[in-house]
Amino acid sequence: MTPIIIVSLVLIGLSALLTVIRLLAGPTPFDRLMASDTLTVIATAFLVLFSVISGGTDLYIDVAIVYAVIGFIGVVTIARFLKGGK
């Protein structure tokens, strides 16, 4: 692991932390939904990076693809239901 990768991991962690703050702070449900959408993408990127760090097996990128797909579908579905339940 090079120092650049470590710095990048810290930055990704920071980004996830800020997103989680927005997720907890709200104030509207749409803010929380948007934060979890952002968190999905951050997690996808992290999974791919982790796949490299853990020795270059391509197992985690399969997980990342599934995660991106499920995250997209989940967010879109919740957005539809939030509209309904206003």
């Binding site: 391509d58 399969d62 599934v66 797909v69 499920i70 579908i73 539809r80 239901f81």
Partner: protein, 240 residues
């Protein structure tokens, strides 16, 4: 009817408690139990030919339980569709006043074939990498779900889906019985050739069973969703 269901549920729970209790007391030493995991890890590649040990456990070591799980899922699908009839008045009404907007409609239609393709990939490579029939089937079903959510007119081929569901269930049973009458003489014996370790056609019948599980999961979920949405549009029409 309700009483019968209650008695069955209580009976099942009692059976579960008794089995668990007997298991706790009859086990002679803990180390014997603990050794199962390492033994599976050691013997899995030779016995099943699957690179993903979790999948080998799910489909081969405890294939019987997987069959049971599929049955449980079928029962819950039945329950939810009954629920759908009950909530015909109200709950889903607001959702159908709106079509989700153009971007979501077109976007979900554009992404649908590719998401289903990813689902099929996950199903077919379940014995090689993380995934398998259950997550793959769920991905396929949820992709269809989003399209259903955004359209008022989409007609689901219910007949086809019911046939698929039934065929998948029967296929699982059939493979099990083939194992029973094969030289191995056990239900769900893995009698197909193991193939080359790590390639798509390996691990004997595991990919076949996972494909069947995926079809069953996907068709059941689509069935639930289409029944729920049908109940929702019925309630909307009733309100108008």
């Amino acid at each position: 009817m309700r009483k019968l269901i209650g008695i069955l549920l209580i009976g099942g729970f009692a059976f579960y408690l008794i089995t668990v209790g007997m298991g706790l007391f009859s086990a002679e030493s803990r180390s014997e139990l603990d050794s199962v995991g390492s033994e599976i890890l050691a013997t899995s590649p030779d016995l099943s030919g699957a690179a993903n040990t979790v999948t080998a456990v799910v489909v081969q070591y405890r294939g019987f339980d997987t069959l049971g799980e599929v049955t449980v899922l079928f029962a819950s699908a039945l329950g939810v569709s009954m629920l759908a009839m009950a909530i015909r008045d109200g709950l889903l009404q607001d959702l159908f006043d709106d079509d989700g907007g153009f971007v979501l409609q077109a976007g979900s239609l554009a992404l649908l074939p590719f998401i289903v393709l990813v689902g099929i990939y996950i199903v077919l490579h379940g014995h090689l990498s993380p995934g398998g029939g259950f997550p793959g089937g769920v991905i396929i079903a949820t992709a269809v779900f989003v399209v259903i959510l955004t359209s008022k007119t989409l007609s689901i081929p219910r007949g086809l889906i019911n046939v698929l569901e039934t065929l998948a269930g029967l296929g699982f049973l059939a493979i099990g019985f083939v194992g029973l009458y094969s030289p191995a003489q056990s239900f769900l014996a893995n009698i197909l050739p193991k193939g080359e370790f790590g390639s798509l056609l390996s691990a004997g019948f595991i990919p076949v069973i996972y494909a069947i599980v995926a079809i069953k999961v996907a068709s059941e979920l689509i069935n639930i969703i289409s029944k729920l949405t049908a109940a929702g549009s019925a309630s909307r029409e009733a309100a108008e």
